[in-house]
């Protein structure tokens, strides 16, 4: 295995008596799609927060692309290519769909301390944004304010914003939640296409998607990694079946 893009060493975090992250050590390979699954409240979103810097750690170390980023603030991590989508949709509601994506592109395109040129006519940003909207199928809605999107459409918008952020690693927190079958299918296709290009961490409860996409899966229960392996290994693990998968067959 080549050097991992992201490595977590001994992460721990408690809220009072509740241990949400309990000595998590994990490596994400430079080209893999790594799924993290686990019951509700297991600490998956919290783990993503710890990686991006939103949730301060009690102990542990986060190394990204060979650099220790444990102490860096959120935006500095984002600028280094750590890109996330949110489980509970986070968009810029009054901006148009296009502006939402163009803003994401702007973050990675030179300084934003520019006071005079009209940004709405900035072709470089807009072109990138349009391309991303094409990929997720939101192009027709580009000029609408983002609030007027339906729930599922907002999820697609989040993905588009992640795509233009020049990610070195994509952290996707339940991107399929709230999407219909068709949209899920097309998102799976999008992620399939991206798979070689970006390493990804995917948190998702849609097992059909996870088992099709993931190279490796880690299972988080009560803040601990209880299993880690290929999809087949994980699917076969009785502990995982009991804690998470249940009776359903995810062939």
């Amino acid at each position: 295995m080549t050097a991992p893009i992201l490595s977590l060493r001994g992460l721990s975090k408690s809220y009072g008596a509740l241990k949400v992250t309990d000595d998590v050590t994990l490596d994400i390979g430079a080209s893999e799609l790594h799924a993290i699954i686990g019951p509700n409240g297991a600490g998956k979103t919290t783990l993503i927060g710890e990686i991006t810097g939103e949730v301060p750690l009690d102990v542990g170390q986060v190394t990204f692309a060979g650099e220790d980023i444990t102490r860096l603030p959120i935006h500095a991590r984002a600028l280094r290519g750590l890109t996330r989508s949110f489980q509970i949709t986070q968009i810029l509601p009054a901006f148009t769909v296009l502006e939402n994506v163009a803003t994401a592109a702007q973050a990675h395109d030179r300084s934003s301390f520019r006071f005079f040129r009209q940004v709405s006519r900035d072709a470089r940003l807009n072109d990138k944004a349009v391309a991303a909207l094409d990929q997720v199928g939101l192009r027709p809605k580009a000029e609408l304010p983002a609030t007027s999107l339906s729930h599922g459409e907002k999820r697609q918008l989040e993905i588009a914003m992640a795509l233009v952020s020049e990610p070195k690693l994509l952290l996707l927190d339940e991107p399929m939640a709230g999407m219909g079958r068709e949209e899920t299918e097309s998102l799976v296709a999008v992620l399939m296409a991206l798979k070689g290009r970006y390493p990804m961490v995917l948190v998702e409860h849609d097992m059909h998607a996870v088992f099709r996409l993931a190279d490796r899966i880690s299972v988080l229960v009560y803040g601990r990694v209880i299993a880690s392996g290929t999809p087949d290994e994980v699917r076969a693990d009785p502990a995982v079946r009991e804690a998470y998968l249940g009776e359903e067959d995810f062939a």
Binding site: T52, E54, P73, I74, H75, A76, A78, L79, T83, R84, F86, Q90, I91, L92, P93, A94, F95, E99, T103, A104, Q106, A107, H108, S111, S112, F113, R114, F115, F116, R117, Q118, V119, S120, D122, P145, A146, T147, S148, M161, S165
Partner: protein, 323 residues
């Protein structure tokens, strides 16, 4: 607690031509005033309204586009005024010196207080800016050497590169109009720029902006400093207009008046700030002529604007023109 102004209803911005049409009408109207009413009191009334227009524009930048409700903004007005008046008391009457100094003073005060205030959000921000405004107010009150509570007189308007340009009422009027136009164009450019987009984005959803890689604090602070400098410039003009500065220019009521102007005119539109400032001052003046109990009329008027002109007077004009 929900952040101030994030709950504003989303709206598709008015078409470009209409936005410019309103601004065009305003500036054209202001430009012809001296030809129709050359009387001094009209020039000084409208001049005062324009000075407040500049101050309101500066407030709209942070309030309307950045959701930073500064409740101490009058402090900048006062600081700018005191800078000019104190320099003048020491014999420096040159605007080319005193105006930049005023702006620097405003910017410096904004930098220091902003760096502290911007740790907070929403109503907490409102109150911490009020606190700094009050400190400035009490400091001015205890400046015995410069008149303290009674205020400080200026004996003449500032010179401009040695000329007495500002002493003529009409040319003073056009200078103020020119500054208003300049500030308007500057801010119009800023809010549409990359910088402006980050500012607006941070108002919409700070968490999202951070995750995209922006540090909202730096942009907000920069906007706050720009705003403070511009408002201090308004203060410098204000001191020249009234030939007098006093702590009363910095009172919290005055900051409240400025917020009311911007909100009544229409938040985050720039046009609204100008319309609000001019509208409020002219209506006040007009009502005060009608009756001594004019506040009993003005108050309900303000309430009606708040309730019915959703989005302020510009929205009302927009809707009227939209039919």
């Amino acid at each position: 607690m929900a952040d101030i102004a994030t709950s504003a209803p989303a709206s598709i911005p008015a078409p470009l031509w209409r936005r410019h049409a309103i601004a065009l009408v305003i500036f054209a109207a202001l430009a012809v005033v001296p030809f129709i009413w050359p009387e001094r009191y009209v020039l000084s009334l409208v001049g005062r309204a324009m000075v407040f227009g500049i101050a309101a524009l500066s407030l709209d930048l942070i309030l309307g586009y950045g959701a930073m409700v500064s409740f101490g903004h009058a402090a900048f007005l006062g600081l700018g005024g005191y800078a000019v008046a104190i320099l003048s008391a020491h014999g420096i009457d040159e605007a080319a010196i005193s105006f930049p100094v005023a702006m620097l003073v405003g910017a410096a005060f904004a930098l220091v207080t902003g760096a502290i205030s911007l740790k907070t959000r929403g109503v907490y921000f409102i109150m911490i800016t009020l606190a700094f405004g009050q400190m400035a107010f009490f400091t001015a009150t205890s400046l015995s050497a410069y008149g303290g509570d009674d205020g400080l007189r200026m004996f003449s308007r500032s010179d401009v590169f040695g000329t007495r340009l500002l002493r003529n009422e009409t040319s003073f009027y056009f200078v103020v109009l020119g500054v208003l136009l300049g500030v308007y164009l500057l801010l119009r450019a800023i809010v549409g720029s990359r910088f402006g987009r980050v500012l607006r984005g941070a108002k919409e959803n700070e968490r999202r902006m951070r995750a995209l890689g922006f540090d909202p604090f730096r942009y907000r602070l920069a906007a706050y400093v720009i705003s403070g400098a511009i408002c201090a410039l308004a203060g410098a003009l204000f001191a020249n207009l009234t030939l007098f500065v006093s702590p009363a220019y910095m009172s919290w009521q005055r900051s409240g008046d400025m917020i009311a102007m911007v909100v009544a005119g229409g938040l985050g539109t720039l046009n609204g700030a100008i319309i609000g400032a001019i509208g409020v001052l002219l209506i006040e003046e007009w009502l005060a002529e009608l009756t001594q109990h004019w506040k009993a009329l003005f108050g309900p008027l303000v309430v009606l604007v708040a309730i019915f002109a959703r989005g302020g007077l510009v929205k009302l004009i927009d809707r009227g023109a939209g039919r």
